[in-house]
Each structure stands twice: as C-alpha cells, then as structure tokens.
C-alpha cells in the first residue's frame, strides 16, 4: 500500500526521538580519548623536565612529510647540543611514524585535541626549547648508548 512505508518511517523517527541524546555538549562536556589517540607530537619529559632526545636524527628522517627540523652543534668534546627541534604542527598528519621510529622514546603523540591557534606562526613550535634542562639526562643517555647505537638503520632513502 502506498504510504505504508512513510508511516513506518515516522514510527521509526518517533522511536529515535525517545532514545535520548547521543551528542556531547562540548565545551561543557568533554570526550575521553582512548589511550592510543594520536594528536600533536610532544616530547616526553620526566619530573625534572628533562627530555631524552640524543639528536640522533631518526625521527627527522622517518617523517614522510619532512616536518621535523633538528639542529644541533657538536662541541669539542664530541657532545651534541641541540639548538632546536622544530615541529610544524599545521603540516603534520599525526601519523605517529616519528614516535615509532625514535629509538630513545623521546617523543610521544599528545592527547590534547584543542589545537587551534590564533596565528599561523604559533603552529610551528620548538619542541626542545629549554636545552639547559636537558643536559643531565643527555649526559646519562650518552653514556648508556653503545657505540653505533644511534646508527640509523631506518634512515636514508626517504628521498628515493
């Protein structure tokens, strides 16, 4: 019978009306992200604020979009000093490949999903801006790393 389907559709719509809301009233309510959620790249820091990066460049080479930019200077005693680890959030696809590649677990994917910025410049952040705070951890790490340990087996070849 013509019209039966339409009436049935209205019945379904009515039933759905009684099922209660399914949306989250952001920003009054927030969703809890699952543990594995991947947002912007962050640096792992311990309680003292020290990071674990040894400037091995693995992440820089692993990033398919060449977003990470790491500059370091080698002092006379062969110790590396990181000038900056620049990260361009606006161009990052949050794939997590840099985090997977880091042999020292110095990076992680953040869980902050409110990443809007007012200006374009704010999208480029320096992940390792406080170099001084990292010095002790770096010394410790450097002594742990076996010779050739930072040898980048994943690197190279990204440019074909």
């Amino acid at each position: 019978m013509w019209g039966k389907g339409i009436l049935n559709g209205m019945r379904i719509t009515m039933r759905n009306m009684l099922r209660g809301p399914i949306t989250v009233r952001y920003p009054y309510e927030r969703v809890t992200l699952p543990e594995r959620a991947r947002w912007a790249v962050e640096v792992v820091r311990d309680e003292s604020g020290a990071h674990k990066c040894t400037a091995c460049m693995t992440c820089v080479r692993a990033c398919p979009d060449h977003i990470l930019d790491l500059q370091f200077t080698t002092a006379e005693d062969k110790s590396k000093h990181i000038d900056y680890l620049r990260y361009e959030m606006g161009a990052c696809m949050m794939c997590g490949l840099c985090v997977e590649a880091c042999p020292f677990d110095a990076l992680k994917m953040g869980q902050d999903y409110e990443l809007a910025k007012l200006t374009r410049d704010e999208l480029t952040v320096d992940l390792l801006v406080d170099v001084a705070a990292a010095a002790p951890a770096r010394a410790k790490k450097a002594s742990e790393v076996p010779a050739g340990g930072t040898d980048d087996s994943r690197g190279g070849g990204t440019d074909g």
């Binding site: 389907g5 559709g9 759905n16 594995r36 959620a37 398919p64 696809m93 997590g96 087996s153 070849g157």
Partner: protein, 402 residues
C-alpha cells in the same frame, strides 16, 4: 554569455579566424551547446560541481540539458589531485600507508591493506594468523563505516534527510571503536607490511559485539526508513540501469558490478588475509538499476556484521606482526595485489628496483572506472536523477584523483 571561440558545424569546427578543423569536435570543446531542440530553444550547458554537495567531493560534470533532460555529460576530474602515485616513489614501503589513507579517505584500511599485501607478496613475508584476522576485522568495520556514509548521502541525494543523521550516529560508534584500535578516526595508519601496528586493545571485543547487537536493529530500521519509503522507491527503481555488458566493458567492480548480476568479489575470488576462513554470502542484483545497487549494499552491510561476529569470536592468538626488518627492501620485481574495498577492487601495482622506495606505484581506484560510466549512463535521464545516480554509484573523488 561570452562569444564562443569555436563554431560547431556538422562536420567540424570553425575557429574565429575562419580556420576549419574537420572531424568530430574534440571532447573538451563540447561546452558549446550542440543541438537545438524541437521547440527551437537552445540546449543549456550546466556546470555541476566541482563545489557541489551532491557530487560527493570535487567532481565536475559539464552537463548539456534539453529542458530537464540530460543530453550529454562530460566528466572532468583532477580537482583533488595530490600526486599520490608520484609521492609514493619517495616513500619507504612501510610509510606508503599514509598516502593510501588519503586516497580513498572513507575506506581507509583497504588501501593500507592493498599496499601491505603487495609488499608482503614481493618479500614473501608470512603474515601471522592474528595479524590477518585483525586486518580483516578492521577492514570490515571500515566497510560498514564507509557504507554508512554512502547510505546517508544517497538518501540526501534523493531528498531524504533523516536517515543521514541516523547513519552518522552509527558511524560515530564505529569510528570510536576504530580510534581505540588504531589511534585515529580517519587516517588510521594501522596496517603495515607484515601485520598491524599494535594488538587489539583489551576489552574491544565486547564493545564491538555490543555495537553489532545494537546496529543489527538499527540497520533494519535504516532499511525500513529509506528503502521502505515509497517515494524513495519510485525515485530509484528502474533508473540508471547498467547492463552486464556495460558493467564489464567499463571495468566496474564491487557493489556496482554485483548489482548488475555479476558475482565477482575479490574477497571470495582472490581471497586474502582471513577471508578464506570466513562464511559470508555475496549479494547479487538482477537488472543493475539504482534500486539493485541500494539493496546490494544494504545486504553487504548485513554480511559485514556477520563476518565481524565470526572474526571477534574466532580471533586466534599469537603475534600481531611478522618479524620484518626495520627498513624494507623488497627484491627488484613487479607485483599486483588487490583487495575488495567499499567501492570495488582497490589494487596496487608495485615496481621495485631493490631499493627502499618503490620505483613506480600504480593505484587502481575502483571509482575512476565508475566515473567513466557517467558519460554513458546519465544521458537520457532527468537532471534531478543525475544527482541521485551519482549517489547510487558511491564514488570517492579522493581515490579518483589521487
């Protein structure tokens, strides 16, 4: 209207300078209305898209109309071209997935799976059973999520609004599950050569099963709400018939091919991952009209649910990835691997030269073949049906333009 640059004559083109180009006018110059109809009014050229909600992306159709009737159609693609095939030549094999994610961005796992299968075939990597099952599970979840987008927007194209919201409600739950498994809601980057990135999180099985239970009810509601609606039926039944011969000639695959009555499904006919161990039916249509395409896809969703239940129930133990070297270096050679994505056969043709990146990667996108069909199928239909027809074929411009 500006003066046309060319004058179209019966046997060729006349340029403004009076030069005569004999022969059938080339396609790109069809934009001048060709015919004059019986009432003596000129045909009208309508540019549909690329920014048009019912072209499902950035498809540009140059449609010549005689009143309400479509006379010719020219499909113009490439507005979403990002050079994925070229970029692939500078990506390592385990990073190709990030590119494929952006090909068919609604049916993401299938692209990643195709690349992974191709690399595994080349390197002869044995994938552990668990990895294959997890992949198949995520692939079927993605198929449901993708078909729900099709279902919602197909309704919109025919003028129905309600079921779109309900489809998005169910897709939301699916995306939450996939986010919990892979870490992201759209660009999962989860399948790699050799297996998957991480094991299934604890407790996900019960979530998937409870989704299956609720969705089973909702799916029947969806079908009743849209498919049971007589107005919808009147709009889709008998419209856009694709015969078996046309479907084959244009290289259609997936639900569009099966709606025409040909039962080819990569999952069954060239089985990969866990599909050989699963029980599922392949729905087949009869005449290949829009209604058949609708029923075939709805039935596919039911079959996906059935498969998901089997996959969760029979998930084997063991490692979630094979032991693969950090830098993949397949031997020089050539390989083709394909999967059944939500839109048809998604294939990857890889040429390698023994290096760490592909020498050349070809991406067989099912939607590209469907797109070519429009020039054949749309003429003769009403303009309003053209939007509905685009919806019924479920094309994805991300994979057409790649």
């Amino acid at each position: 209207m500006t003066e046309p640059h060319f004058t179209v004559t019966e046997s060729g083109l006349m340029t403004p300078e009076g030069m005569y180009i004999p022969g059938e006018p080339p396609k790109g110059i069809r934009r001048i209305p060709k015919g004059v109809d019986r009432l003596g009014t000129e045909h009208l050229i309508v540019n549909m898209g690329p920014q048009h909600p019912s072209t499902h992306g950035v498809l540009h159709l140059i449609v010549e109309l005689d009143g309400e009737e479509v006379v010719t159609v020219e499909v113009s693609i490439g507005f979403l071209h990002r050079g994925i095939e070229k970029l692939a030549e500078s990506r390592r094999f385990d990073h190709l997935g990030t590119l494929m994610d952006r090909g068919d961005y609604v049916s993401v796992i299938h692209g990643e799976q195709a690349v992974a299968l191709a690399v595994e075939k080349l390197m002869e990597i044995e994938v552990p059973a668990k990895a294959a099952w997890i992949r198949t599970l995520t692939a079927e979840l993605t198929r449901l999520a993708s078909h729900l987008v099709w279902f919602g927007t197909f309704g919109l194209d025919t003028g129905a609004m309600g079921q779109f919201l309900y489809a998005m409600r169910d897709r939301e739950v699916l995306l939450d599950i996939l986010e919990e498994i892979s870490g992201q809601r759209m660009m999962f980057n989860y399948v790699r050569p050799g297996g998957v990135v991480a094991d299934l999180p604890t407790g996900i099985e019960s979530r998937i099963l409870s989704f299956c239970d609720t969705f089973e009810v909702y799916l029947e509601e969806h079908d009743a709400l849209l498919g049971g609606n007589e107005i919808f039926q009147a709009r889709v039944k008998g419209i856009g018939v694709v015969s078996k011969e046309t479907a084959l000639a244009f290289g259609l695959t997936g639900a569009n091919l099966r709606a025409s009555g040909l039962g080819f499904d990569v999952r069954r006919d060239r089985p990969y991952d866990a599909y050989p161990e699963l029980e599922f039916d392949i729905p087949i249509g009869t005449i290949g009209d829009s209604w058949d395409r609708y029923t075939v896809r709805m039935e596919e969703m039911r079959q996906s649910l059935r498969m998901i239940r089997q996959l969760v129930g029979g998930m084997p133990g063991g490692p979630f990835t094979a032991k693969v070297p950090k830098v993949l270096r397949p031997p020089a050679g050539e390989v083709y691997a394909s999967v059944e994505s939500s839109r048809g056969e998604t294939g990857i043709h890889l040429f390698t030269d023994g290096g760490t990146t592909p020498y050349r990667m070809h991406y067989r996108a099912a939607s590209l073949f469907t797109c070519q069909l429009f020039e054949e199928i749309l003429p003769g239909h009403l303009f309003a049906d053209a939007c509905m027809l685009l919806g019924s074929f479920d094309i994805m411009l991300g994979e057409v333009d790649r």
